[in-house]
């Protein structure tokens, strides 16, 4: 399981990726991240909120209050700017993985 230090700096990217599946509130995003990563991330759940606020200030996500089943939730969704940032992040990540893998593999 990857701890907070291991994924520090990637939280915003991960949140954008989780929002690709559709709008979600904070706890819903945590559940989504846990499920998609197969429980690989041991992330303090509260850290998602500062990340969401940073993304919102950057125009990459937008949010609004929503009531559902008697619960009042702040629901976040990707903006076009966020979509573009996610695509760029995916390309950068793929390049990084290729580079690291090339070094780590036997004979690299």
């Amino acid at each position: 399981m990857l701890g907070g230090d291991a994924i520090k700096g990637h939280v915003e990217f991960l949140v954008l990726g989780a929002l690709r599946g559709g709008p979600a509130h904070g706890y819903g995003l945590i559940v989504r991240l846990r499920a998609r990563s197969d429980g690989a991330f041991d992330l303090a759940e509260g850290t998602i909120y500062p990340a969401l606020q940073r993304l919102e200030r950057a125009g990459r996500v937008e949010s609004a209050w929503s009531s559902e089943g008697g619960r009042r939730r702040r629901v976040y969704s990707l903006t076009p700017v966020g979509e573009a940032a996610l695509q760029k992040g995916r390309e950068d990540w793929a390049a990084l993985v290729r580079g690291v893998q090339a070094v780590l593999e036997p004979g690299g």
């Binding site: 509130h25 904070g26 706890y27 945590i30 303090a44 759940e45 509260g46 850290t47 909120y49 500062p50 606020q53 940073r54 619960r71 009042r72 939730r73 702040r74």
Partner: protein, 284 residues
């Protein structure tokens, strides 16, 4: 009702007390998150107290969350404060700079009045450059102000600081000066008796001025004319390669050696166009 969730929310509210603009939203979202997390834990078979403790443990501490939420705001406020301090220092420098230049101007005018037979200009050694630390400071101040996003004040301070910034170290090999005045530029003076030159600024300046004095010179004060009340509509210098208009700076016709350096040509004449359209030229 008190439990782990309420305790965390109370601590978070206390820590966010100085950031009321975000506190309500953060507390609402945190409460909703913890209650949903605890509900999920209970659905998995935990008791109420155990489920709440589990939800709080997963969420993390109120201290870490409040720090993460307020850190950027503290940085932004610090940048704004630094920007304002830089503004004050920059304006002080600009005020001192202008005051000092005015003193040098007055001193030069008193000590070397206009002579009708004075030669025009000669090329001289480059002037000493302004302390680069000062220039770097002025630029840093402007950057700081931009970072602080104090746009209205920035515009005003840009104008005030332009005198400092314009005196940045220059790459030109030449400067022009009136003989005997030192290598620091010259004035074009318009008087009742015609147009002439006076030596202007003392060491440290590399600008020339166009001034207008309808009362004449020769012991009388000569004032730098603003465009709005000047009888001069434009000014120029003549070099080996032609006429070069003198640009307007600080409300007067004012040039630096960079403006008149054309293939290292000498300035052979100076001239003005008066408000009535008449042109006066002195020199060859």
């Amino acid at each position: 009702m008190s439990g782990p969730i309420e305790e965390l929310l109370q601590e978070l509210a206390r820590r966010l007390g100085r950031s009321p603009e975000i506190a309500d939203r953060v507390l609402d979202e945190t409460r909703e998150h913890l209650e949903e997390s605890a509900a999920a834990a209970r659905a998995a078979g935990m008791g109420l107290a155990e489920a709440e403790a589990e939800a709080v443990a997963r969420f993390g501490s109120a201290r870490d969350l409040s720090r993460a939420l307020t850190h950027r705001r503290l940085v932004a406020r610090s940048v704004a404060l630094v920007g304002l301090l830089a503004l004050c220092a920059g304006l002080a420098i600009a005020t001192f700079d202008r005051s000092s230049a005015g003193h040098r101007m007055r001193h030069a005018q008193k000590s070397m009045p206009l002579r009708a037979d004075a030669p025009i200009f000669r090329r001289v050694a480059p002037p000493p450059s302004v302390d680069p630390v000062l220039v770097a400071y002025a630029r840093t101040a402007l950057i700081g102000l931009h970072a602080a996003n104090v746009s209205g004040v920035v515009a005003a301070s840009m104008r005030s600081l332009s005198g400092v910034a314009e005196r940045a170290p220059r790459s030109h090999p030449d400067a022009y000066a009136f003989p005997g005045a030192g290598p620091y530029g010259a004035c074009i003076v318009v008087t009742g008796g015609g147009i002439g030159c006076i030596p202007t600024l003392a060491a440290g300046s590399d600008f020339g001025y166009v001034v207008s004095d309808p009362d004449g010179v020769g012991g009388q004060p000569v004032t730098v004319a603003g465009l709005t009340d000047s009888s001069v509509s434009s000014a120029f210098v003549i070099t080996d390669e032609g006429r070069v208009d003198v640009p307007v700076r600080h409300g007067a016709f004012l040039w630096s050696p960079d403006d008149v350096r054309m293939s290292n040509s000498d300035i052979t004449a100076i001239g003005v166009v008066l408000a009535d359209g008449a042109t006066q030229v002195r020199g060859s």
